[in-house]
Symmetry: C2
Subunit: 300 residues, 2 copies
Protein backbone atom coordinates (compact mmCIF):
# COMPACT_ATOMS: atom_id res chain seq x y z
CA UNK A 1 0.00 0.00 0.00
CA UNK A 2 2.86 2.43 0.59
CA UNK A 3 4.33 2.19 -2.90
CA UNK A 4 3.65 4.44 -5.88
CA UNK A 5 1.75 7.70 -5.71
CA UNK A 6 0.15 8.75 -2.45
CA UNK A 7 -2.04 11.76 -3.16
CA UNK A 8 -2.50 14.48 -0.54
CA UNK A 9 -5.83 16.29 -1.02
CA UNK A 10 -6.59 19.71 0.38
CA UNK A 11 -9.23 19.95 3.11
CA UNK A 12 -11.19 22.94 1.82
CA UNK A 13 -12.95 25.33 4.19
CA UNK A 14 -16.01 27.37 3.36
CA UNK A 15 -16.91 30.09 5.86
CA UNK A 16 -14.47 28.49 8.31
CA UNK A 17 -16.17 25.09 8.16
CA UNK A 18 -14.96 22.01 6.33
CA UNK A 19 -16.66 21.82 2.93
CA UNK A 20 -17.46 18.13 3.05
CA UNK A 21 -19.17 18.11 -0.32
CA UNK A 22 -16.17 19.61 -2.09
CA UNK A 23 -13.88 17.30 -0.13
CA UNK A 24 -15.79 14.21 -1.20
CA UNK A 25 -15.43 15.44 -4.78
CA UNK A 26 -11.66 15.75 -4.37
CA UNK A 27 -11.44 12.19 -3.10
CA UNK A 28 -13.56 10.84 -5.94
CA UNK A 29 -11.35 12.59 -8.51
CA UNK A 30 -8.29 10.88 -7.04
CA UNK A 31 -9.94 7.48 -7.16
CA UNK A 32 -10.95 8.07 -10.78
CA UNK A 33 -7.41 9.13 -11.68
CA UNK A 34 -5.99 5.89 -10.30
CA UNK A 35 -3.70 7.05 -7.52
CA UNK A 36 -2.15 4.26 -5.46
CA UNK A 37 -3.19 5.66 -2.10
CA UNK A 38 -4.72 8.76 -0.59
CA UNK A 39 -3.30 10.53 2.44
CA UNK A 40 -6.07 12.53 4.07
CA UNK A 41 -5.14 15.26 6.51
CA UNK A 42 -1.52 15.69 5.53
CA UNK A 43 0.04 19.14 5.74
CA UNK A 44 -1.72 19.93 2.46
CA UNK A 45 -4.90 18.74 4.14
CA UNK A 46 -4.41 21.36 6.87
CA UNK A 47 -4.54 18.80 9.68
CA UNK A 48 -3.09 20.98 12.45
CA UNK A 49 -5.70 23.69 11.94
CA UNK A 50 -8.71 21.42 12.38
CA UNK A 51 -10.48 20.38 15.56
CA UNK A 52 -10.61 16.77 16.66
CA UNK A 53 -14.24 16.56 15.56
CA UNK A 54 -13.46 18.03 12.16
CA UNK A 55 -10.59 15.59 11.71
CA UNK A 56 -12.78 12.64 12.64
CA UNK A 57 -15.41 13.70 10.11
CA UNK A 58 -12.86 14.36 7.34
CA UNK A 59 -11.32 10.93 7.83
CA UNK A 60 -14.77 9.34 7.56
CA UNK A 61 -15.63 11.26 4.38
CA UNK A 62 -12.32 10.21 2.83
CA UNK A 63 -12.92 6.56 3.67
CA UNK A 64 -16.51 6.65 2.46
CA UNK A 65 -15.51 7.98 -0.97
CA UNK A 66 -12.18 6.22 -1.55
CA UNK A 67 -13.61 2.91 -2.72
CA UNK A 68 -10.83 0.34 -2.74
CA UNK A 69 -8.01 2.90 -2.66
CA UNK A 70 -6.15 2.70 0.67
CA UNK A 71 -6.47 5.80 2.83
CA UNK A 72 -3.81 6.98 5.25
CA UNK A 73 -4.86 9.58 7.83
CA UNK A 74 -2.61 12.27 9.30
CA UNK A 75 -2.76 12.17 13.10
CA UNK A 76 -0.14 14.73 14.17
CA UNK A 77 -0.84 16.91 17.19
CA UNK A 78 1.23 18.62 19.84
CA UNK A 79 0.37 16.20 22.67
CA UNK A 80 0.91 12.45 22.60
CA UNK A 81 -2.48 11.64 24.09
CA UNK A 82 -4.18 13.69 21.37
CA UNK A 83 -2.22 11.83 18.69
CA UNK A 84 -3.28 8.50 20.14
CA UNK A 85 -6.92 9.60 20.21
CA UNK A 86 -6.74 10.68 16.58
CA UNK A 87 -5.02 7.44 15.56
CA UNK A 88 -7.75 5.42 17.28
CA UNK A 89 -10.36 7.47 15.45
CA UNK A 90 -8.55 6.77 12.16
CA UNK A 91 -8.48 3.06 12.92
CA UNK A 92 -12.19 3.10 13.73
CA UNK A 93 -12.88 4.87 10.43
CA UNK A 94 -11.06 2.12 8.54
CA UNK A 95 -7.78 3.82 7.69
CA UNK A 96 -4.98 1.69 6.27
CA UNK A 97 -2.31 3.64 8.11
CA UNK A 98 -1.50 6.86 9.91
CA UNK A 99 0.89 9.64 9.02
CA UNK A 100 2.63 11.20 12.01
CA UNK A 101 4.79 14.32 12.08
CA UNK A 102 6.46 15.38 15.33
CA UNK A 103 4.69 18.72 15.62
CA UNK A 104 6.46 21.03 18.02
CA UNK A 105 5.96 24.18 20.04
CA UNK A 106 8.63 23.70 22.67
CA UNK A 107 11.65 22.29 20.80
CA UNK A 108 11.70 18.48 20.96
CA UNK A 109 14.66 16.22 21.73
CA UNK A 110 15.38 12.94 19.95
CA UNK A 111 14.16 11.09 23.04
CA UNK A 112 10.88 13.03 22.99
CA UNK A 113 10.28 12.12 19.35
CA UNK A 114 11.27 8.48 19.81
CA UNK A 115 8.90 8.29 22.78
CA UNK A 116 6.08 9.74 20.70
CA UNK A 117 6.42 7.07 18.00
CA UNK A 118 6.89 4.37 20.63
CA UNK A 119 3.71 5.34 22.46
CA UNK A 120 1.62 5.67 19.31
CA UNK A 121 2.90 2.45 17.74
CA UNK A 122 2.10 0.62 20.98
CA UNK A 123 -1.39 2.10 21.29
CA UNK A 124 -2.72 1.65 17.76
CA UNK A 125 -2.38 -1.44 15.54
CA UNK A 126 -1.99 0.45 12.25
CA UNK A 127 1.01 1.02 10.00
CA UNK A 128 2.69 4.32 10.87
CA UNK A 129 4.39 6.62 8.37
CA UNK A 130 7.10 8.74 9.94
CA UNK A 131 6.63 12.25 8.58
CA UNK A 132 9.89 14.20 8.42
CA UNK A 133 8.92 17.75 7.50
CA UNK A 134 11.31 20.18 9.20
CA UNK A 135 9.82 23.18 7.37
CA UNK A 136 6.65 22.87 9.43
CA UNK A 137 7.67 20.85 12.50
CA UNK A 138 11.05 22.52 13.07
CA UNK A 139 12.37 19.13 14.13
CA UNK A 140 15.41 17.64 12.37
CA UNK A 141 15.64 13.85 12.21
CA UNK A 142 19.06 12.19 12.10
CA UNK A 143 19.60 8.86 10.35
CA UNK A 144 20.31 7.40 13.78
CA UNK A 145 16.86 8.45 14.92
CA UNK A 146 15.28 7.05 11.73
CA UNK A 147 16.99 3.76 12.59
CA UNK A 148 15.82 3.76 16.20
CA UNK A 149 12.22 4.54 15.27
CA UNK A 150 12.21 2.05 12.36
CA UNK A 151 12.80 -0.77 14.85
CA UNK A 152 9.47 -0.12 16.53
CA UNK A 153 6.56 -2.38 15.59
CA UNK A 154 4.10 -0.90 13.06
CA UNK A 155 6.53 1.58 11.52
CA UNK A 156 5.85 1.15 7.81
CA UNK A 157 7.46 4.03 5.97
CA UNK A 158 9.49 7.21 6.27
CA UNK A 159 8.48 10.33 4.39
CA UNK A 160 11.76 12.13 3.71
CA UNK A 161 11.92 15.83 2.89
CA UNK A 162 14.14 15.61 -0.19
CA UNK A 163 17.25 14.21 -1.86
CA UNK A 164 20.35 15.88 -3.36
CA UNK A 165 19.93 17.23 -6.89
CA UNK A 166 22.71 15.17 -8.45
CA UNK A 167 21.49 11.62 -9.39
CA UNK A 168 24.40 9.66 -7.91
CA UNK A 169 24.24 11.66 -4.70
CA UNK A 170 20.48 11.15 -4.55
CA UNK A 171 20.87 7.40 -4.99
CA UNK A 172 23.59 7.30 -2.33
CA UNK A 173 21.35 9.21 0.06
CA UNK A 174 18.43 6.80 -0.41
CA UNK A 175 20.77 3.82 0.01
CA UNK A 176 22.16 5.39 3.17
CA UNK A 177 18.68 5.65 4.69
CA UNK A 178 17.79 2.17 3.49
CA UNK A 179 20.83 0.69 5.17
CA UNK A 180 19.89 2.46 8.41
CA UNK A 181 16.32 1.19 8.59
CA UNK A 182 14.61 -2.19 8.56
CA UNK A 183 13.82 -3.78 5.17
CA UNK A 184 10.10 -3.67 5.87
CA UNK A 185 10.17 0.16 6.05
CA UNK A 186 9.54 1.89 2.75
CA UNK A 187 11.03 5.25 1.85
CA UNK A 188 8.89 7.96 0.35
CA UNK A 189 9.96 11.25 -1.16
CA UNK A 190 8.17 14.50 -0.51
CA UNK A 191 8.87 17.99 -1.73
CA UNK A 192 7.29 17.69 -5.15
CA UNK A 193 10.14 19.47 -6.92
CA UNK A 194 12.50 16.65 -5.99
CA UNK A 195 10.03 13.80 -6.47
CA UNK A 196 11.32 12.59 -9.84
CA UNK A 197 14.88 12.61 -8.51
CA UNK A 198 13.80 10.76 -5.39
CA UNK A 199 11.86 8.10 -7.29
CA UNK A 200 14.69 7.70 -9.79
CA UNK A 201 17.03 7.26 -6.84
CA UNK A 202 15.00 4.35 -5.53
CA UNK A 203 12.30 5.79 -3.29
CA UNK A 204 9.27 3.47 -3.12
CA UNK A 205 6.65 6.16 -2.83
CA UNK A 206 5.93 9.78 -3.62
CA UNK A 207 3.95 11.52 -0.89
CA UNK A 208 2.64 14.14 -3.24
CA UNK A 209 1.04 17.55 -2.89
CA UNK A 210 0.21 17.93 -6.59
CA UNK A 211 -1.02 14.33 -6.58
CA UNK A 212 -3.95 15.52 -4.46
CA UNK A 213 -5.11 18.20 -6.90
CA UNK A 214 -3.39 17.44 -10.21
CA UNK A 215 -3.19 13.65 -10.06
CA UNK A 216 -2.57 13.07 -13.79
CA UNK A 217 0.56 15.21 -13.76
CA UNK A 218 1.84 13.39 -10.68
CA UNK A 219 1.03 9.97 -12.12
CA UNK A 220 2.95 10.77 -15.32
CA UNK A 221 6.10 11.38 -13.30
CA UNK A 222 5.56 8.52 -10.90
CA UNK A 223 4.77 5.87 -13.50
CA UNK A 224 7.72 6.84 -15.68
CA UNK A 225 10.11 6.64 -12.75
CA UNK A 226 8.67 3.43 -11.35
CA UNK A 227 8.85 1.75 -14.78
CA UNK A 228 12.54 2.57 -15.00
CA UNK A 229 12.31 5.46 -17.45
CA UNK A 230 14.27 7.94 -15.37
CA UNK A 231 14.72 10.36 -18.27
CA UNK A 232 10.99 10.60 -18.94
CA UNK A 233 10.30 11.21 -15.25
CA UNK A 234 12.88 13.99 -15.14
CA UNK A 235 11.59 15.50 -18.38
CA UNK A 236 8.06 15.71 -17.00
CA UNK A 237 9.34 17.15 -13.71
CA UNK A 238 11.48 19.69 -15.58
CA UNK A 239 8.45 20.71 -17.63
CA UNK A 240 6.71 21.60 -14.36
CA UNK A 241 9.60 23.79 -13.18
CA UNK A 242 7.46 26.97 -13.33
CA UNK A 243 5.15 25.30 -10.79
CA UNK A 244 8.06 24.34 -8.52
CA UNK A 245 9.24 27.95 -8.78
CA UNK A 246 5.86 29.16 -7.57
CA UNK A 247 6.03 26.80 -4.59
CA UNK A 248 9.47 28.17 -3.70
CA UNK A 249 8.34 31.78 -4.05
CA UNK A 250 5.37 31.34 -1.74
CA UNK A 251 7.10 29.58 1.14
CA UNK A 252 5.93 26.14 0.07
CA UNK A 253 3.17 24.51 -1.91
CA UNK A 254 0.22 25.14 0.43
CA UNK A 255 -1.09 28.49 -0.81
CA UNK A 256 -0.28 27.76 -4.45
CA UNK A 257 -2.04 24.40 -4.61
CA UNK A 258 -5.09 25.91 -2.87
CA UNK A 259 -5.12 28.69 -5.47
CA UNK A 260 -4.99 26.08 -8.25
CA UNK A 261 -7.91 24.16 -6.75
CA UNK A 262 -9.86 27.41 -6.35
CA UNK A 263 -9.07 28.50 -9.92
CA UNK A 264 -10.22 25.13 -11.21
CA UNK A 265 -13.48 25.38 -9.30
CA UNK A 266 -12.71 22.27 -7.26
CA UNK A 267 -13.15 24.25 -4.06
CA UNK A 268 -14.64 27.66 -3.33
CA UNK A 269 -12.45 30.77 -2.86
CA UNK A 270 -10.88 31.44 0.55
CA UNK A 271 -10.53 27.73 1.20
CA UNK A 272 -7.55 28.02 3.56
CA UNK A 273 -7.75 28.27 7.36
CA UNK A 274 -7.16 31.82 8.57
CA UNK A 275 -4.78 33.32 9.57
CA UNK A 276 -3.21 31.67 6.50
CA UNK A 277 -4.43 33.89 3.67
CA UNK A 278 -4.74 32.75 0.13
CA UNK A 279 -2.54 34.34 -2.54
CA UNK A 280 -3.34 37.90 -3.47
CA UNK A 281 -4.75 38.87 -6.86
CA UNK A 282 -1.36 39.43 -8.52
CA UNK A 283 0.07 36.12 -7.37
CA UNK A 284 -3.14 34.32 -8.25
CA UNK A 285 -3.01 35.73 -11.78
CA UNK A 286 0.52 34.40 -12.17
CA UNK A 287 -0.52 30.98 -10.90
CA UNK A 288 -3.39 30.97 -13.39
CA UNK A 289 -1.01 31.81 -16.23
CA UNK A 290 1.47 29.09 -15.25
CA UNK A 291 -1.09 26.32 -14.89
CA UNK A 292 -2.74 27.35 -18.16
CA UNK A 293 0.58 27.36 -20.01
CA UNK A 294 1.41 23.95 -18.56
CA UNK A 295 -2.03 22.59 -19.44
CA UNK A 296 -2.69 21.85 -15.78
CA UNK A 297 -5.99 23.59 -15.06
CA UNK A 298 -8.02 20.85 -13.43
CA UNK A 299 -11.45 20.30 -14.97
CA UNK A 300 -14.07 21.88 -12.71
CA UNK B 1 -2.13 46.41 34.81
CA UNK B 2 0.66 45.69 32.32
CA UNK B 3 3.46 47.19 34.36
CA UNK B 4 5.80 45.43 36.78
CA UNK B 5 6.08 41.68 37.16
CA UNK B 6 3.71 39.45 35.24
CA UNK B 7 4.16 35.92 36.55
CA UNK B 8 3.76 32.92 34.21
CA UNK B 9 2.72 29.81 36.17
CA UNK B 10 3.13 26.28 34.88
CA UNK B 11 -0.03 24.31 34.12
CA UNK B 12 0.89 21.01 35.77
CA UNK B 13 -0.40 17.72 34.44
CA UNK B 14 -0.94 14.58 36.48
CA UNK B 15 -1.59 11.39 34.50
CA UNK B 16 -2.16 13.55 31.42
CA UNK B 17 -4.88 15.63 33.08
CA UNK B 18 -4.58 19.15 34.39
CA UNK B 19 -3.89 19.04 38.13
CA UNK B 20 -6.32 21.77 39.10
CA UNK B 21 -5.57 21.51 42.82
CA UNK B 22 -1.85 22.02 42.30
CA UNK B 23 -2.59 24.78 39.81
CA UNK B 24 -4.79 26.64 42.28
CA UNK B 25 -1.92 26.38 44.76
CA UNK B 26 0.50 27.92 42.25
CA UNK B 27 -1.85 30.84 41.71
CA UNK B 28 -2.32 31.42 45.44
CA UNK B 29 1.46 31.47 45.98
CA UNK B 30 1.79 34.19 43.35
CA UNK B 31 -0.92 36.29 44.95
CA UNK B 32 0.74 35.89 48.36
CA UNK B 33 4.11 36.91 46.91
CA UNK B 34 2.65 40.13 45.55
CA UNK B 35 3.17 39.83 41.81
CA UNK B 36 1.66 42.62 39.73
CA UNK B 37 -0.23 40.35 37.36
CA UNK B 38 -0.54 36.69 36.48
CA UNK B 39 -0.43 35.39 32.93
CA UNK B 40 -2.18 32.05 32.83
CA UNK B 41 -1.57 29.76 29.86
CA UNK B 42 1.58 31.36 28.55
CA UNK B 43 4.21 29.17 26.91
CA UNK B 44 5.30 28.18 30.43
CA UNK B 45 1.66 27.33 31.05
CA UNK B 46 1.74 24.88 28.13
CA UNK B 47 -1.20 26.52 26.37
CA UNK B 48 -0.72 24.93 22.92
CA UNK B 49 -0.80 21.41 24.37
CA UNK B 50 -4.17 21.76 26.07
CA UNK B 51 -7.64 21.22 24.68
CA UNK B 52 -10.14 24.04 24.46
CA UNK B 53 -12.03 22.60 27.42
CA UNK B 54 -8.86 22.32 29.50
CA UNK B 55 -7.93 25.90 28.67
CA UNK B 56 -11.37 27.16 29.65
CA UNK B 57 -11.13 25.37 33.00
CA UNK B 58 -7.58 26.54 33.68
CA UNK B 59 -8.55 30.15 33.01
CA UNK B 60 -11.46 29.82 35.42
CA UNK B 61 -9.28 28.29 38.17
CA UNK B 62 -6.75 31.09 37.73
CA UNK B 63 -9.43 33.77 38.00
CA UNK B 64 -11.07 32.09 41.00
CA UNK B 65 -7.83 32.04 42.98
CA UNK B 66 -6.17 35.30 41.88
CA UNK B 67 -8.12 37.59 44.20
CA UNK B 68 -7.56 41.17 43.08
CA UNK B 69 -4.47 40.39 41.01
CA UNK B 70 -5.20 40.93 37.28
CA UNK B 71 -5.08 37.77 35.20
CA UNK B 72 -4.11 37.68 31.54
CA UNK B 73 -4.95 34.52 29.59
CA UNK B 74 -2.97 33.10 26.69
CA UNK B 75 -5.25 32.47 23.71
CA UNK B 76 -2.85 31.42 20.95
CA UNK B 77 -3.92 28.71 18.52
CA UNK B 78 -3.20 27.84 14.91
CA UNK B 79 -6.57 28.99 13.53
CA UNK B 80 -8.04 32.45 13.92
CA UNK B 81 -11.52 31.21 14.75
CA UNK B 82 -10.08 29.08 17.56
CA UNK B 83 -8.20 32.09 18.93
CA UNK B 84 -11.39 34.15 18.93
CA UNK B 85 -13.28 31.38 20.72
CA UNK B 86 -10.58 31.16 23.39
CA UNK B 87 -10.49 34.94 23.78
CA UNK B 88 -14.25 35.02 24.27
CA UNK B 89 -13.93 32.27 26.89
CA UNK B 90 -11.23 34.33 28.63
CA UNK B 91 -13.45 37.40 28.61
CA UNK B 92 -16.34 35.37 30.04
CA UNK B 93 -14.06 34.08 32.80
CA UNK B 94 -13.17 37.64 33.78
CA UNK B 95 -9.67 37.98 32.34
CA UNK B 96 -8.09 41.43 32.28
CA UNK B 97 -6.42 40.79 28.95
CA UNK B 98 -5.27 38.16 26.50
CA UNK B 99 -1.80 37.13 25.39
CA UNK B 100 -1.56 36.17 21.73
CA UNK B 101 1.38 34.58 19.93
CA UNK B 102 1.19 33.95 16.17
CA UNK B 103 1.51 30.19 16.37
CA UNK B 104 2.49 28.70 13.04
CA UNK B 105 2.58 25.43 11.16
CA UNK B 106 2.62 26.72 7.60
CA UNK B 107 4.96 29.74 7.67
CA UNK B 108 3.02 32.99 8.15
CA UNK B 109 3.40 36.25 6.25
CA UNK B 110 3.25 39.70 7.83
CA UNK B 111 -0.22 40.13 6.33
CA UNK B 112 -1.39 36.87 7.89
CA UNK B 113 -0.19 37.96 11.33
CA UNK B 114 -1.60 41.47 11.02
CA UNK B 115 -4.92 39.94 9.97
CA UNK B 116 -4.90 37.65 13.00
CA UNK B 117 -4.49 40.56 15.43
CA UNK B 118 -7.00 42.64 13.50
CA UNK B 119 -9.65 39.92 13.64
CA UNK B 120 -9.09 39.13 17.32
CA UNK B 121 -8.97 42.77 18.41
CA UNK B 122 -12.22 43.38 16.55
CA UNK B 123 -13.96 40.33 18.02
CA UNK B 124 -13.09 40.64 21.70
CA UNK B 125 -13.16 43.82 23.81
CA UNK B 126 -10.12 42.97 25.95
CA UNK B 127 -6.57 44.36 25.99
CA UNK B 128 -4.31 42.24 23.77
CA UNK B 129 -0.64 41.55 24.46
CA UNK B 130 1.33 40.83 21.30
CA UNK B 131 3.54 37.84 22.07
CA UNK B 132 6.75 37.84 20.04
CA UNK B 133 8.39 34.48 20.73
CA UNK B 134 10.22 33.33 17.59
CA UNK B 135 11.77 30.34 19.41
CA UNK B 136 8.36 28.67 19.58
CA UNK B 137 6.29 30.40 16.87
CA UNK B 138 9.04 30.56 14.22
CA UNK B 139 7.63 33.92 13.18
CA UNK B 140 9.88 37.00 13.17
CA UNK B 141 8.23 40.36 13.80
CA UNK B 142 9.72 43.48 12.25
CA UNK B 143 9.41 46.89 13.92
CA UNK B 144 7.22 47.91 11.00
CA UNK B 145 4.82 45.10 11.83
CA UNK B 146 4.88 46.05 15.54
CA UNK B 147 3.88 49.55 14.44
CA UNK B 148 1.08 48.35 12.17
CA UNK B 149 -0.39 46.07 14.82
CA UNK B 150 0.00 48.66 17.61
CA UNK B 151 -2.40 50.93 15.74
CA UNK B 152 -5.22 48.44 16.13
CA UNK B 153 -7.74 49.05 18.91
CA UNK B 154 -7.20 47.01 22.10
CA UNK B 155 -3.50 46.37 21.55
CA UNK B 156 -2.07 47.03 25.01
CA UNK B 157 1.46 45.68 25.11
CA UNK B 158 4.22 43.95 23.19
CA UNK B 159 6.17 41.11 24.76
CA UNK B 160 9.60 41.33 23.16
CA UNK B 161 12.02 38.41 23.10
CA UNK B 162 15.11 40.22 24.39
CA UNK B 163 17.40 43.24 24.23
CA UNK B 164 21.11 43.63 23.42
CA UNK B 165 23.50 42.86 26.29
CA UNK B 166 25.17 46.27 26.34
CA UNK B 167 23.12 48.81 28.39
CA UNK B 168 23.23 51.70 25.88
CA UNK B 169 22.32 49.38 23.03
CA UNK B 170 19.51 47.91 25.12
CA UNK B 171 18.14 51.37 25.89
CA UNK B 172 18.38 52.35 22.21
CA UNK B 173 16.51 49.22 21.22
CA UNK B 174 13.65 49.88 23.66
CA UNK B 175 13.49 53.53 22.49
CA UNK B 176 13.40 52.34 18.89
CA UNK B 177 10.39 50.13 19.57
CA UNK B 178 8.73 52.85 21.63
CA UNK B 179 9.07 55.34 18.81
CA UNK B 180 7.51 52.81 16.42
CA UNK B 181 4.41 52.08 18.49
CA UNK B 182 1.62 54.10 20.04
CA UNK B 183 2.20 55.63 23.50
CA UNK B 184 -0.57 53.58 25.01
CA UNK B 185 1.27 50.32 24.18
CA UNK B 186 3.58 49.09 26.91
CA UNK B 187 6.74 47.12 26.23
CA UNK B 188 7.52 44.00 28.21
CA UNK B 189 10.70 41.99 28.27
CA UNK B 190 10.79 38.23 28.19
CA UNK B 191 13.67 35.79 28.21
CA UNK B 192 14.40 35.85 31.92
CA UNK B 193 18.16 36.06 31.44
CA UNK B 194 17.80 39.48 29.84
CA UNK B 195 15.01 40.75 32.09
CA UNK B 196 17.17 42.98 34.30
CA UNK B 197 18.77 44.53 31.22
CA UNK B 198 15.37 45.03 29.62
CA UNK B 199 13.84 46.64 32.69
CA UNK B 200 16.92 48.84 33.20
CA UNK B 201 16.58 49.87 29.56
CA UNK B 202 13.05 51.10 30.14
CA UNK B 203 10.72 48.16 29.59
CA UNK B 204 7.50 48.59 31.55
CA UNK B 205 6.93 44.94 32.33
CA UNK B 206 8.70 41.65 32.78
CA UNK B 207 6.73 38.71 31.38
CA UNK B 208 8.49 36.23 33.58
CA UNK B 209 8.93 32.47 33.61
CA UNK B 210 10.65 32.38 37.01
CA UNK B 211 8.04 34.81 38.30
CA UNK B 212 5.52 31.98 38.03
CA UNK B 213 7.47 29.53 40.20
CA UNK B 214 10.09 31.60 42.05
CA UNK B 215 8.23 34.90 42.46
CA UNK B 216 10.45 36.33 45.22
CA UNK B 217 13.56 36.05 43.06
CA UNK B 218 11.77 37.72 40.17
CA UNK B 219 10.34 40.47 42.37
CA UNK B 220 13.80 41.29 43.76
CA UNK B 221 15.05 42.01 40.24
CA UNK B 222 11.91 43.76 39.08
CA UNK B 223 11.54 46.06 42.08
CA UNK B 224 15.20 47.08 42.02
CA UNK B 225 15.03 47.95 38.34
CA UNK B 226 11.68 49.74 38.56
CA UNK B 227 12.90 51.82 41.51
CA UNK B 228 15.86 52.99 39.49
CA UNK B 229 18.53 50.84 41.11
CA UNK B 230 19.90 49.35 37.90
CA UNK B 231 23.02 48.03 39.60
CA UNK B 232 21.05 46.07 42.20
CA UNK B 233 18.83 44.57 39.50
CA UNK B 234 21.86 43.48 37.48
CA UNK B 235 23.58 42.10 40.58
CA UNK B 236 20.59 39.93 41.41
CA UNK B 237 20.30 38.79 37.78
CA UNK B 238 24.02 38.01 37.66
CA UNK B 239 23.68 35.99 40.85
CA UNK B 240 21.14 33.81 39.04
CA UNK B 241 23.48 33.19 36.07
CA UNK B 242 23.72 29.43 36.86
CA UNK B 243 19.95 29.27 36.39
CA UNK B 244 20.10 31.15 33.08
CA UNK B 245 22.85 28.72 32.01
CA UNK B 246 20.53 25.79 32.73
CA UNK B 247 17.79 27.39 30.62
CA UNK B 248 20.24 27.79 27.73
CA UNK B 249 21.50 24.22 28.03
CA UNK B 250 18.02 22.72 27.90
CA UNK B 251 16.67 24.62 24.91
CA UNK B 252 14.76 27.13 27.01
CA UNK B 253 13.26 27.46 30.44
CA UNK B 254 10.31 25.06 30.10
CA UNK B 255 11.80 21.77 31.28
CA UNK B 256 14.02 23.42 33.88
CA UNK B 257 11.28 25.42 35.59
CA UNK B 258 9.05 22.32 35.62
CA UNK B 259 11.87 20.37 37.28
CA UNK B 260 12.21 23.12 39.90
CA UNK B 261 8.50 23.04 40.66
CA UNK B 262 8.60 19.24 40.87
CA UNK B 263 11.68 19.31 43.15
CA UNK B 264 9.97 21.83 45.39
CA UNK B 265 6.86 19.66 45.66
CA UNK B 266 4.67 22.35 44.09
CA UNK B 267 3.57 19.90 41.40
CA UNK B 268 3.87 16.14 41.08
CA UNK B 269 6.58 14.50 38.94
CA UNK B 270 6.06 14.16 35.18
CA UNK B 271 4.07 17.37 35.09
CA UNK B 272 4.86 18.22 31.45
CA UNK B 273 2.70 17.26 28.45
CA UNK B 274 4.17 14.32 26.53
CA UNK B 275 5.93 14.07 24.13
CA UNK B 276 7.87 16.78 26.01
CA UNK B 277 9.77 14.76 28.61
CA UNK B 278 11.01 16.17 31.86
CA UNK B 279 14.73 16.37 32.49
CA UNK B 280 16.53 13.10 33.08
CA UNK B 281 17.97 12.15 36.47
CA UNK B 282 21.43 13.64 35.81
CA UNK B 283 20.07 16.97 34.63
CA UNK B 284 17.55 17.04 37.45
CA UNK B 285 20.33 16.51 40.00
CA UNK B 286 22.21 19.46 38.54
CA UNK B 287 19.10 21.64 38.70
CA UNK B 288 18.61 20.62 42.32
CA UNK B 289 22.18 21.58 43.15
CA UNK B 290 21.92 24.96 41.42
CA UNK B 291 18.64 25.98 43.04
CA UNK B 292 19.89 24.83 46.44
CA UNK B 293 23.14 26.79 46.08
CA UNK B 294 21.17 29.85 45.00
CA UNK B 295 18.71 29.43 47.87
CA UNK B 296 15.85 29.14 45.40
CA UNK B 297 14.13 25.89 46.38
CA UNK B 298 10.52 26.95 46.68
CA UNK B 299 8.84 25.99 49.95
CA UNK B 300 6.57 23.00 49.35
Amino acid sequence: MFAGLSAFPLTPLRNDEVDEVAYAGLIERLVAAGVDSITALGSTGAYPYLTTDERRRVARVALEHAGSVPVVVGVGALRTSQVIGLARDAADAGASGVLLAPMSYQPLTDDDVFGLYEDVAAAVPLPVIVYDNPGTTHFEFSDALYARIAQLPNIASIKIPGVPAEPDAARARVEQIRSAVSDRVTIGISGDASAARGLNAGCDTWYSVIGGTLPEAALAICRAARSGDAAAAMAESDRLQPLWDLFAEHGGSFRVIAAIAELGGLVTPNSLPLPVRGLDRTARDRVARVVRELGLIPPA
